[in-house]
């Protein structure tokens, strides 16, 4: 918990201490109660049966199901991240153009792709690809295409916000030195914008990584398909245990990325901010999606 939230309440006196103790007690009981309820429900349905968990110890479960699934997920996420960055850079810069005929279409593209539900986009691409390119397996193409267009549009906005947020004096000084538009952008604005926006960019990668799970719906073989479909099909009745294991893997992956984002946000050379209730906790745009 952030140290900042402690300023919401004072060093407690005797009455408040008693009240806090009672509250802590009640909260503990409630939390344990919920935990026990879940445990009891699992127990009632026999989900703690060691049969349902044993196969996670055997190597073949990992080499045949989880590792291939993870590879699928990371392939989609990696490709999606690279293409989204390229798309985002191109359209972010296009939106900053001084020429209306570049800026406005780019703005329209970015706004539209941010507004389309990602799953509809992925479905559309999955059904459109065979029509355009003939028969074949286009699940990866559709997934990466959808992730690129959506996350690329978000990254374009992030980049644009970053460039706009650089103090005007910076570009004025650069122009005064005799740099041209491209030079000002490349040597002065972009480095500062990318540095300032790095946490937001990495948070967007968390969103992207989570969204690769949509591939499960169109039949792409990712961690979710392997863990939630193929694995329970081979080991009967392991739906719940498998879901818990792969959820843990997803959470681990995403938390690693989030930790990277917050490390980037707390670097010594990160931009400063005014003093508020909690220091610099949630500067990363809350990853909504």
């Amino acid at each position: 918990m952030s140290s900042g939230s402690t300023v919401l309440f004072d060093a407690p006196g005797p009455v408040a201490r008693r009240r806090n103790t009672i509250l802590t007690l009640l909260a503990t009981i409630a939390t344990l109660g919920v935990a026990y309820l879940v445990y009891a429900k699992f127990d009632e349905k026999g989900q703690w049966n060691s049969e349902l968990w044993r196969h996670f110890i055997s190597a073949s479960t990992w080499t045949e199901f989880i590792i291939p699934g993870l590879t699928g997920t990371l392939t989609a996420a990696g490709l999606g991240a690279v293409f989204a960055l390229i798309f985002g850079a191109a359209f972010g810069l296009a939106r900053l153009s001084e020429h209306g005929w570049i800026r406005q279409p780019a703005g329209a593209v970015v706004d539209i792709f941010r507004a389309i539900p990602l799953l509809l986009l992925i479905f559309f691409m999955a059904y459109l690809s065979p029509t355009l390119f003939g028969r074949g397996d286009y699940t990866l193409l559709a997934l990466v295409g959808g992730l690129t267009l959506y996350n690329g549009s978000v990254l374009a906005e992030v980049l644009r916000a970053g460039v706009t947020a650089v103090p005007r004096g910076q570009s004025e000084a650069a122009y005064a030195l005799g740099l041209r538009k491209a030079g000002v952008m490349w040597h002065v604005l972009l480095p500062q914008a990318v540095t300032a926006m790095m946490p937001a960019i990495v948070s967007q990668f968390v969103v992207l990584l989570k969204d690769t799970a949509l591939g499960y719906i169109i039949g792409y073989q990712d961690l979710l398909s392997y863990g939630f479909q193929f694995l329970p099909a081979n080991y009967f009745g392991t739906r719940v245990s498998s879901a818990i294991v792969i959820a843990t893997i997803y959470i681990g992956l995403n938390m690693t990325l989030s930790a990277l984002a917050s490390w980037l946000d707390h670097r010594p050379f990160a931009p400063r901010e005014r003093r508020t209730l909690a220091p610099r906790e949630q500067r990363l745009a809350p990853a909504s999606e």
Binding site: G4, L8, K45, L119, Y127, Y216, S288
Partner: protein
């Protein structure tokens, strides 16, 4: 264009289901998110810990997994049912899963709002003798809510778009399923896709515009 007109009734019915899901999830996720944020800033470490664990776990799990688990895990295996009619049951399971998922983002948005409240406000509230609950209710949260109207709008827009993932919970009535089903029958149709996109934009764009307008009106002058 003909396909869009021919399949419009089915698509519209599906889209209406999306709107119903979105309205219910907005209600539940906003309430649950407010409770969660109160837990996360509570003076009790147990509550703070429980809130933090909930948000961390839910926020880092893919929505597809949350919804698939609520259908197959919670309902089929653990026996949580809302109704005997399969479609009604899966509808409420989607509401449950999506509300659980969205509430974590509502909580984070509100918490970032609490972080924007100047320190002096909390100090002043303590100085005039307000208890934790009083200062949260009368001083901190009103200001926090007002400063996160725009981010909450984005969360609600994302949630509205996420109602299409309901298909993962086996709910086969909303527009993404209807679109897939239609594509299975007729092959890919660009007008149908664009029609649905337009339908979603007529909902999400006004939410965005309203949110930023309200944000401007409610903004706390500092």
């Amino acid at each position: 264009m003909d396909e869009l007109i021919r399949y419009a009734p089915g698509l519209a019915a599906g889209f209406l289901k999306n709107l119903q899901l979105a309205a219910l999830c907005a209600l539940f996720s906003l309430s649950l998110g407010t409770i969660l944020v109160a837990m996360r800033v509570a003076p009790t470490p147990v509550l703070r810990g429980a809130g933090a664990v909930y948000v961390t776990v839910v926020r880092n799990t893919p929505l597809t997994l949350v919804l698939a688990f609520s259908a197959v895990g919670l309902s089929d295996t653990l026996g949580l049912t809302f109704s005997d009619t399969p479609s009604t049951n899966s509808f409420w399971l989607v509401v449950l899963g999506l509300s659980i998922y969205t509430s974590a983002f509502v909580c984070e948005a509100l918490r970032s709002g609490i972080n924007t409240v100047p320190l002096g406000q909390a100090e002043a509230a303590r100085a005039i003798g307000l208890t934790f609950v009083q200062s949260l209710r009368l001083v901190i949260l009103p200001q926090a809510f007002r400063s996160v109207v725009a981010p909450l709008g984005s969360v609600m827009i994302a949630m509205t778009k996420n109602t299409t993932v309901a298909i993962a919970a086996g709910y086969l009535a909303e527009s993404s399923f209807v679109m897939k089903d239609t594509f299975d029958n007729t092959g890919v149709s660009i007008p149908i896709f664009l029609g649905l996109v337009a339908a979603f934009m007529t909902v999400t764009l006004p939410i965005g515009v309203c949110a930023s307008r309200l944000a401007g009106r409610f903004a706390v002058a500092r």
